[in-house]
Symmetry: C2
Subunit: 408 residues, 2 copies
Amino acid sequence: MATINGNYNNLAAGYLFPEIAKRAKAFLEKNPGIQIMRLGIGDTTHPLPKELIARMKEGVEKLAHKETYTGYADNSFGMARLRKAIADRYRGWGCPIHDTDIFVSDGAKPDSANIQSIFGLNNVVAVQDPAYPVYVDSNVIAGRGGTWDGIRYAGLVYMPCTEENGFFPALPDKKVDLIYICSPNNPTGAVATKEQLKAFVDYAIANKAVIIFDAAYAAYISDPSLPKSIFQIKGATSCALEINSFSKEAGFTGVRLGWTVVPQELAAEDAVPGKIQTLWMRRQNTMFNGASNIAQEGGIAALSPEGSKGCKAVIDYYMNNARIIKQGLEKIGIKVFGGINAPYIWLQTPGKMDSWQFFDKLLTETHVVGTPGVGFGPNGQGYFRLSAFGHTENVQKAVESVQKNLKI
Amino acid sequence: MATINGNYNNLAAGYLFPEIAKRAKAFLEKNPGIQIMRLGIGDTTHPLPKELIARMKEGVEKLAHKETYTGYADNSFGMARLRKAIADRYRGWGCPIHDTDIFVSDGAKPDSANIQSIFGLNNVVAVQDPAYPVYVDSNVIAGRGGTWDGIRYAGLVYMPCTEENGFFPALPDKKVDLIYICSPNNPTGAVATKEQLKAFVDYAIANKAVIIFDAAYAAYISDPSLPKSIFQIKGATSCALEINSFSKEAGFTGVRLGWTVVPQELAAEDAVPGKIQTLWMRRQNTMFNGASNIAQEGGIAALSPEGSKGCKAVIDYYMNNARIIKQGLEKIGIKVFGGINAPYIWLQTPGKMDSWQFFDKLLTETHVVGTPGVGFGPNGQGYFRLSAFGHTENVQKAVESVQKNLKI
């Protein structure tokens, strides 16, 4: 008698973004002809730089010829050229990363979800609150969530990110084992300073904890004093791994390409240096079969001088959108955060109104779809995420509609 | 103090294929200049049909224009056009499959590995012996393996596939909950008949078990009396799910594209019809982000009339290789199985010699790399897998080398 993984029954609600899609669809069905403006999901919309297009077409063409055709690679970790190009970037920032510390994947989301599986079920997990839902949901599915009380999972440690602490948390007030940190942060748009990260690295070393650092938006940092990688903090290779992606840097949300850095030095209570890297190698070789070879050619192009110039131009385009949203909302007295070194604007709902209520209000009054802050954790209540991805003319229209039609 | 998932320590050995690569590499280092002939990993080598190349280039070109650019899809299940094309094929075989039963992924390997995660840890798992290692390893990592006694995992039920039963197992002799069946079989090349599958479907319905059917080589079946899908068996939608792939059918081992059929009707002891499909939807939406949009365009092309004609020609090419291997080995008195409706030749080692010993012997004497049968399970001991993938001229050379140089 086959039975299901009962942990799924502990999941609080449907995954956030499909729920948003469902509500938007229902609105459209009730209001046919209305043009919805989407500032919801953090999804890229801009065409890819031509360097990337050309290289991926070459990647396809390679598959048309016996001499250049490739099937499975020797392992699931990515092309050597791509691993080197990624590691080179880290080394350029002064991070002691080897090519073999880089594990190419089909994106930051699967890696964020799967990384917990190489750790024991008894690890206490700490997450920023609010946080990208995948950290919480993947741990709940694995069985680390404990009971859901309607607001929080009893088994998780929530690290509040609030206006008071500039949306970067204090160290956990109890001993924790796995710590998820996302910077630049999704959803708040806050970016950790070197000093803030150093405090967590020191904590992790002292407590033999492991930091899972999500840097998927690192390419959006323009302030040179802010760290783009946790490995810019001394000692981090012994206590942290880092997840990143080509999705937002190169517009690869649909192409699917990311990577995780698991340093050789990384250790844990019952794992000598090298062991955790070996576990991730084993996990990827057993349960994954490499990222698409076409996407990997595109990734190599994105890291080339020409390609990265093209990617940078797209990022500037989105960051101009961020400025439009930020300034446009501030003009009508809405309090906004983020949007300077990250493509997300974190707004305080007028009167700290319930996030989902504001979602419905914004949709009904202005036809703009955003993301309810509470969907990212209890401390997201009264907040709302807007994304800078989109075509500027649409972003402008959306902001104008909010300015004109939102009844505050 | 972070700790690791101790189940990894229960894994018997390194994943099979990296181990083979390691031994081949060591041989090459000791014997520089020698040309190794690979009939080992089941990896495609033939260029893709031009229809697929053209369509994937169009897929890349779409990403170059604002009007046709796509990022994330609404869900992680695949493009509607592709899901429909796949479901249409099943319906063409008389299987009652809906478009929404199809879940597109980045390949059969990740799906084979991840599918167990939606089931409870107390399910008793039955595998064919020998079997594709991912079924066993993913369950061991999840914690269903129990102790390893040097040959078998105490927690798994092994269903022997032997010369006597034509390499298709009898029903399990005890009650099991999850049953992995692969047909056409990797590694034995055996294909289950409708009657054989019906017996398992009846067993699963009677015992509320779930069959995980791996049909990744279905496109290699030429005998019209043999089932290409378990859903050709009446009642199977209530007790089975099916995993398949474009890897071997369309040469997509490097492009990465597969699918899993989770029928709406599928039920379990504690899951009404619909529930298991919902769990897989939740799993994929939380831990996966869709297959590459470029690969999906290629998949649509592979299922088109022109594209599938091209794919069929490549399959015929490989099956001609299979014939060359089979007949070539039979000529020198080696007993071989499979290779008729599957791209694998399963040979009995001379004198039922130890599989790894034969690996070393074959490599040293003939410079041919194959796959030790015991790597697929204890009943693979004394057997050896050769793969029909490869360029015909190389396959011919390899067979000639075996004929000439193998000391039997």
